[in-house]
Structure formats: structure tokens, C-alpha cells
Amino acid sequence: MNLKMATRHALFAILELADHPRAQISSAQIAEKYAISPNHLSKVLRTLVCKGLVEAIRGAGGGYSFVGNAKRVTLLDIILIFEEIGTPPSHKQEPGDDTAEGQALRMVMGEIDAISRATLSSITIDTMLKISRRTPGIGSAVHAL
């Protein structure tokens, strides 16, 4: 399963901000650490502000901070802001869908989607930070803020 670029940016931003609860962090700092485009990241941060997960403080010393509850917000909550997991209810019919084979394929893919959802909804931001702390980064892409 691959996540869209915007979703990955959002997850990185939330994890970075939640890991520094009292700090104001600029989008440039986050973009640099994760080697991602500052422009794309700014758009994603605007969406997260609209959703009430992130707060932006303007001016000198300003930046972004996480204002959600890290013990309650799950990876799935964030991902669903940017993309569907599995086949959306609005899914349009595709050729072959009506056949027994098409239905069987749907059933098997549905199993995978259900497991993905259960996994992503069981991991809160707080737990994800614990997992990150136990997981070493690779090579030079590890920066401290």
C-alpha cells in the first residue's frame, strides 16, 4: 500500500510537531528534515490548520504547532483527510465487476482494505512517536530539529 505524497507530508508534519509539543516549528524546518518540497508542505499544513489539528502562529518566532490530542488522533484520521483507503463507497463500476470473478476479486481486495484500516486506526500519533523512537533512521537523512 502506497500513500499519496500529500498524505506522507501530512504524517511527517504531524509527527514532527507532536514530538515537540511546546515548540513553534517552521514549514522550512520540517521540509528540510524530510527532504520534501516546501511548497507542497505549505499546502498540506494549510489543510491541517483547517481541520483543527495544527495551529499557525504568524510573525517572528512563529511557526506551526500540533493542537490535536496525540493519544486519540490515529494515523487513519490523518490519512482519510487526504485519501481513501481501499475502494470508496462512491467507486464507479469497472469492467468485469459484475462477474463472479470480479466479485471474488473485490472480496479478496476487501480483506486487505479491512486489515489496512484496522492497522491504521490502532496506531495513535503518540504510539507512532514511540515506534519512531525505537526505529533507527537510515544514513544521513536523520537530522535533529
Binding site: A114, S122, T127, K130, I131, R134
Partner: protein, 153 residues
């Protein structure tokens, strides 16, 4: 959310026969399915064992706050012996006070003492709260997938 008073101490100890009514009451409150015989059976199987099955309760002056049950299973589908945790419940009024964490840690300590180095559990996919709890303890997906089928299909 009620919290345990700051100075309320609770202890984790092996379940005794006298705890069973409170355990059954708590389980009925949580699952809405009274299973009196089942819990007496669990106590018979695990309450009296000390090396490969553990039935622990968290208690304070207020009575039983929660419980956990686990056993060591060996060589299922080729797996090395590992500790299975198959029930954990904390009184709804007293959650988020680390009682679940203390029960989990005590069971892990018993498993470790018994010589196993891995702990496993199986959960309903939609049991989000318990799944979040186990994830917060550092548990990740294991190498097994559960499959099932209606026998008369």
C-alpha cells in the same frame, strides 16, 4: 473520567477464588455476556498454575479494578513457545490510570520468568480500544494471519 485518587495504591497479584464474582461482574459489565461457568473454568485452568498459565488481578481497597489472563503455548504451527494474552479488562470507571499497563507488565514479567521472550494476542479487527492499548505497549503485527470458514459451506 474518574481517576484513582493520587494516593490510591493498587497491587497486582494472582487471582483467588474469592475474586471470581468481581471478575465475572466486571466482564459482564464490559462484554454484556454473563459467562459464569467460563470464568470458573478459566480459574480452574489458570488460577492454580504458576509456571505456564497466569490469571492476575489488580486490586485496591475498592476491590478488583481489572484482570489479565495468559498462558504459554508451544509449537502451534511451528512457533517457539510464547506467551499468549487472551483477556485483559479494566473497570470502565478507572481506565487511563495505567492499571492496564501494570497488568500487562506483570503478565510479561511472569512470562519472562517462565523463560519465554515473546508475547502474542489475537483481537477482533474492530476492537479499536484494546488494539490501541496493545499498540501503545509496543506490540506489532506478528507473522501469523488468522483464517476461518463456516464448516457446512
Amino acid at each position: 473520567m474518574p481517576t484513582l485518587a493520587a494516593n490510591t495504591e493498587f497491587e497486582i497479584r494472582p487471582a483467588a477464588a474469592a475474586d471470581l464474582d468481581a471478575v465475572i461482574h466486571l466482564d459482564t459489565q464490559i462484554t454484556a455476556m454473563p459467562k459464569v461457568e467460563y470464568w470458573h473454568g478459566i480459574f480452574e485452568r489458570f488460577g492454580r498454575r504458576e509456571t505456564d498459565g497466569f490469571f492476575l488481578v489488580a486490586t485496591s481497597g475498592e476491590g478488583v479494578l481489572g484482570f489479565v489472563v495468559g498462558e504459554i503455548r508451544a509449537w502451534e504451527f511451528g512457533s517457539d513457545p510464547c506467551g499468549w494474552i487472551f483477556a485483559i479488562e479494566v473497570s470502565p470507571d478507572l481506565r487511563m490510570n495505567k492499571v492496564g499497563t501494570a497488568l500487562y507488565a506483570a503478565l510479561c514479567a511472569n512470562f519472562r520468568k517462565a523463560g519465554v521472550s515473546r508475547i502474542r494476542t489475537m483481537l477482533a479487527r474492530d476492537a479499536q480500544l484494546v488494539m490501541q492499548f496493545f499498540r501503545s505497549q509496543g506490540m506489532m503485527a506478528g507473522p501469523f494471519i488468522q483464517l476461518e470458514k463456516e464448516l457446512d459451506e
